[in-house]
């Protein structure tokens, strides 16, 4: 029995067969994968999940890939959830946890979504994978396409960080650098999708791709001993993953996998240099998200026209979360603070998440005993230049190879 029933429009409820489409023909609303929950509820248990592989595929029952489909995997997911006592101490949080998703095969959370997307696409006979990317997605798509032996076209803004371009290029994809912003790249790909036989991870096969994000929240709950935290801080670009985290919480509760039924506050983090969702959240009309021209070092999340922005605000309000934003300086400070206190080097997007966590903590959002989890979604080496240009060498001294020089220059 297949567990996937079809696709359904999030806005008007129109139903569609399983296929590579992402928008409703009636209302242009987003399509979501629909599962046979009744049958799944009979099989999904904590024990069944715990006996699965140490990767996202332990949650396979709740992913849009049938049992008989071979998956394309590099061991993504099941990343460390670390209790952050030193950072927590600085912020007045006794139960702060970091989900370190920079530990994925290509060092960002995108490996989760891409492993799912490419497994689905290959099973449907697609021969070429593609995506519009701010860098991390292209990195994952290039790596997983190489792994699967599929053709690959990745589209990125021309001025992406050089470190990202290198770590995409090594997998030898067709790398198309577009003279424009991510939003230009996305618009171009949205038009291209109609005339190519390609699986664009975040366009025509987006309903399947998006589902992979749920595993971040499934793992968090499992690693907390099958409990949901009180609040989760999530970086927001398109808002795609934020929306799936709400769905993951719903499934964890509905399937009885977690104790209790209280829904964590879901809080979104943006950079002020590209904060269309935050701008709307602060306004009288949180569901009217107006596009902006991005200008921030947090390139991974620099999406000026976020497709799921209105849902992010709806969910933040529904769950008691907020959407907050931080300055460029706060991003870099947060990257350093996280590294200094917890030994984790995150990219600028992680700086946004930790920056927002810090800002909210200092503004007195928490009493101190709440369980708060921050999703650290990408590795620091991807955006190392922002530190190099901001005196990133820390307490560096240069000496001659003599004891005298050491004693002169290093104050013990």
């Amino acid at each position: 029995m297949p567990k996937l029933l079809g696709l359904r429009c999030r806005e008007c409820g129109a139903e569609y067969p399983l296929q590579a489409t992402h928008v409703c023909e009636m209302c242009f609303g987003p399509l979501d994968a629909v599962y046979d929950y009744a049958s799944l509820k009979k099989v999904v248990t904590r024990e069944r999940i715990e006996s699965g592989p140490k990767s996202i595929w332990r949650y396979r029952d709740l992913l849009p890939v049938e049992e008989s489909t071979p998956v394309v995997t590099l061991g993504e997911g099941f990343t460390p959830l670390v209790k952050a006592d030193r950072l927590g101490h600085q912020l007045g949080l006794r139960n702060l946890y970091l989900k370190n998703d920079s530990m994925n095969p290509t060092n960002s959370f995108k490996d989760r979504v891409v492993s799912v997307a490419i497994s689905w696409a290959r099973s449907q006979g697609f021969e070429t994978m593609a995506c519009a990317s701010t860098g991390n997605l292209a990195n994952a798509v290039a790596a997983y396409s190489a792994r699967a032996g599929l053709e690959c076209f990745v589209f990125i803004p021309v001025d992406l960080e050089p470190q990202k371009v290198v770590s995409i290029g090594v997998f030898d994809p067709n790398l198309v650098a577009v003279r424009g912003t991510y939003d230009d790249v996305n618009r171009l790909c949205s038009q291209l999708v109609e005339s190519t036989p390609w699986a664009f991870c975040n366009i025509n096969i987006r309903p399947f791709y998006a589902e992979g994000s749920k595993t971040l929240t499934f793992e968090t709950a499992e690693q907390l001993g099958w409990k949901l935290p009180d609040e989760i801080i999530i970086p927001v670009a398109s808002g795609c993953q934020f929306v799936r985290h709400r769905q993951a919480v719903r499934e964890l509760i509905d399937f009885g996998l977690v104790r209790g039924d209280s829904v964590p506050a879901l809080t979104g983090a943006q950079a002020l240099g590209c904060s269309p969702v935050y701008n709307a959240f602060k306004s009288d009309e949180p569901e009217k998200v107006m596009p902006v021209k991005p200008n921030t070092i947090a390139r991974s999340i620099a999406i000026g026209n976020p497709s799921d922005g209105i849902y992010v605000n709806r969910i933040a309000l529904e769950t008691g979360g907020v959407v907050e934003a931080v300055t460029e300086e706060e991003i870099v400070d947060a990257m350093r603070l996280l590294a200094r206190t917890e030994g984790i080097f995150t990219e600028t997007a992680g700086g946004v998440t930790i920056g927002v966590l810090t800002k909210l903590a200092r503004a007195g959002r928490w009493r101190g005993d709440e369980t708060v989890v921050a999703y650290v979604t990408g590795h620091g080496l991807k955006t190392a230049d922002v530190l190099a240009s901001a005196n990133g060498h820390g307490r560096r001294v240069e000496i001659d190879p003599t004891l005298k020089s050491f004693r002169e220059k290093v104050n013990l």
């Binding site: 618009r187 975040n202 993953q241 021209k293 999406i303 209105i310």
Partner: protein
Amino acid sequence: MPRFRIPGPLRRLSNGEITVEVGGADLGSAIVALDERYPGFRDRLLDDKGDLRQFVNVYLNDEDVRLGSGLSEKVKEGDEISIVPAVAGG
């Protein structure tokens, strides 16, 4: 006259035409003209208040009209107006 580029999901309305030339001095009136030619477009593109629907992006010569003056954006001969479903990316 400006030219609309119609996305796949809306081509049933335009009898399969990918591009449609219409009159109009601004984007709003061009949409009205498009709807007169192929009824149904107005409803798909605009909400009850007459604003662009949330899930529709419209680009005038590849620039997002929401970053400019929206429906009052001036259009002229040779301009290309692309309608693109907004739910993509990320």
